[in-house]
Subunit: 146 residues, 2 copies
Amino acid sequence: MYSIGQVAEMFGMPVSTLRYYDKQGLFPNMERVSGIRKFSEQEIEALRVIECLKKAGMEIKDIRKFMDWCSEGSSTYPQRKAMFEERKAHMEAEIARMNRILDMLKFKCWYYEQAIRDGNEEKLAAMIPDELPKDIRAIYDSSHEK
Amino acid sequence: MYSIGQVAEMFGMPVSTLRYYDKQGLFPNMERVSGIRKFSEQEIEALRVIECLKKAGMEIKDIRKFMDWCSEGSSTYPQRKAMFEERKAHMEAEIARMNRILDMLKFKCWYYEQAIRDGNEEKLAAMIPDELPKDIRAIYDSSHEK
DNA sequence: ATAACACCTAAACCTAACTTCAGGTCAAGA
DNA sequence: TCTTGACCTGAAGTTAGGTTTAGGTGTTAT
């Protein structure tokens, strides 16, 4: 059993955030002893899951739904699995999107390297994609397609 | 030369957003004819860059700085390049982070698949990482390391 | 000429996820 | 005793990135 201050310390987050999460219903089974929150192993594990789901881009209200499912027992396994599947698909799409952005950034880095070398953007502004060096062309294509 | 309405149409965004961007100084050289905004090729290109930088996680005020550098001419090539390099590093770190989250999600998907098959989490709760199937173990490791 | 549009502005409003504030309880140490 | 520190609450404040509203101008179609 941990106090809110200990948990805040363990997870490196402010106490106010933990109280906020509690208020949002993220710890549906948390005990209290004369008004004071007691974090058990269950809440610690919940907090680990919360961190993961937040990083996966989930909103608090959807995380609450998940926590409620956990309280409801084994009948909600399918919903919980579906939620993770949906998150997985979302995450894969995000990563693909970010790789395209990364290629754009790589292209821009190359671009300014050339501009600095030439002292201006004249040559680059006039350059058509077909004239790009082969490796840069590949980056250019992957960041400009679709 | 395009009107704000045409540009909004072209980029699939509300007119209010374009006005907001303008107010934030994202089009430092935009012309006006008797009060009415005229978007030239320069602003269209700026908007494409804005979309890219936003997707790369940049804040409006930093995008404004970039636009200002662009107005200042070739003396700011080094700053602009440095900005893209910094964004590139940031993006690479983000993608790495997201891949770790993705592995966590894959593990959770596997976990609930097992739980549904078994009807409960007993076997899984008792399972120590060393007992995980080899392929799942790899995912588990990559999502729990560091 | 009058209504419908597209444009303009400043200012208020919105949302998520917190954070800060003001005020209050309770236990332990000097 | 008194004051320090950890806990509690509800409510208000914060931030980013817009969106909405209210009120006004100017051009075009009927």
